[in-house]
């Protein structure tokens, strides 16, 4: 169709094939199923390694910490993060929420590092529906566990609560929770990834060094942090919602 003198001014043209899909790296068979190791697994593996190194370093630092010493940088960062998350969990879940603080902190750091890994040129693992849906399933199991533990038989009769014929709608409402939770995170991160890939493909190669940095600040840092916050917040709100109110 349109051939804009590709040989003479090709450095002005954008990259021809825009690429933001998940790539399979290694194929293997397990129980007769064809499975793939993909770029998502690599990203998650790197994020896990970084988090583990961080955790081990902080653990060693805290074990040696002395109340009289001035805390170092690492200890300050760790205390800041833990205090912030504890305050957030306490504010939303109340006194009983303390035992969820560990899970929420893990979730927060994992999703945050996954979202921020887009800055380093990785494809964010949270832009894969398998990852976010897994996180949604964990939240769903937690919600239902708390529901049955606290409300006993009320967990089932609660589905018939306002009026008996509303049962199907209540049931769908319960089941839709992990889907809406995971689709929200997935959609936001994927739209950022796709837009960044399209913009990288759109701009001539020598401009891509400067302009997209502003967009990285919005799509990777701002949007990533907000979505991490929202995912943890909604997990806490849903779980608190099912707790029996004790007065």
């Amino acid at each position: 169709m349109i051939d804009m003198g590709a040989s003479s001014s090709s450095f002005l043209l954008a990259e021809a094939n825009v690429d933001f899909m998940i790539h399979g790296l290694l194929k293997y068979h397990l129980f007769g199923q064809e499975l793939w190791l993909t770029t998502t697994h690599v990203g998650m593996f790197l994020v896990s390694i970084v988090l583990m190194i961080f955790a081990v370093a902080v653990n060693r630092k805290i074990k040696k910490a002395n109340a009289k010493d001035t805390p170092g940088t690492l200890q300050n960062i760790a205390e800041l993060v833990v205090e912030m998350l504890d305050k957030m969990v306490d504010g939303i879940m109340g006194a009983r929420g303390r035992k969820f603080a560990n899970y929420i902190l893990t979730l927060f750091l994992f999703i945050l590092f996954c979202n921020l890994s887009g800055l380093l040129g990785l494809r964010p693992p949270t832009a894969d529906y398998g990852v976010t849906f897994g996180l949604g399933i964990i939240t769903f199991c937690m919600i239902q566990f708390i529901n049955i533990k606290d409300n006993k038989i009320g967990a089932f009769t609660g589905l018939f609560k306002p009026l008996p014929f509303l049962f199907p709608i209540n049931l769908i409402g319960e089941i839709a929770t992990p889907f809406s939770l995971s689709l929200r995170l997935f959609g936001n991160i994927l739209s950022g990834t796709v837009l960044m890939a399209l913009i990288y493909g759109l701009l001539p190669i020598f401009i891509t060094l400067g302009i997209p940095s502003m967009l990285h600040i919005y799509f990777d840092i701002f949007s990533g942090v907000i979505q991490t916050y929202v995912f943890c917040m909604l997990t806490m709100v849903f779980v608190t919602d099912k707790m029996a109110s004790e007065e």
Binding site: M21, S180, L183, F186, G187, L190, S191, I226, M233
Partner: protein
């Protein structure tokens, strides 16, 4: 004038459908703007509660965004993982 193949017709209609699906973005835009506007007026009335208002606003906006993201998911499926091509 070349003939339009079946695949070509499906691809073209899928592209139009993806564009139409993104009309869903109007709703969350209005909703989030509404929430942000009310949060701004609430901060104006009670500046002391700024952090509470901000977190409530973000939570509400995130929930309001869900419908738009359903539209986005449909558009992405139509463009990159088209289920209709397999039905030929």
């Amino acid at each position: 004038m070349t003939q339009i193949t079946n695949e070509g017709l499906i691809l073209a209609c899928s592209a139009i459908g993806a564009g139409l699906a993104m009309i869903a973005g109007i709703g969350p835009g209005i909703g989030q703007g509404h929430a942000a506007g009310h949060a701004a007026s609430a901060v104006g009335r009670n500046p002391g509660a700024k952090s509470d208002i901000t977190s409530t606003m973000l939570l509400g906006q995130a929930v309001a965004e869900t419908t738009g993201l359903y539209g986005l998911a449909i558009a992405i499926i139509l463009l990159f993982a088209n289920p209709l091509l397999g039905k030929l």
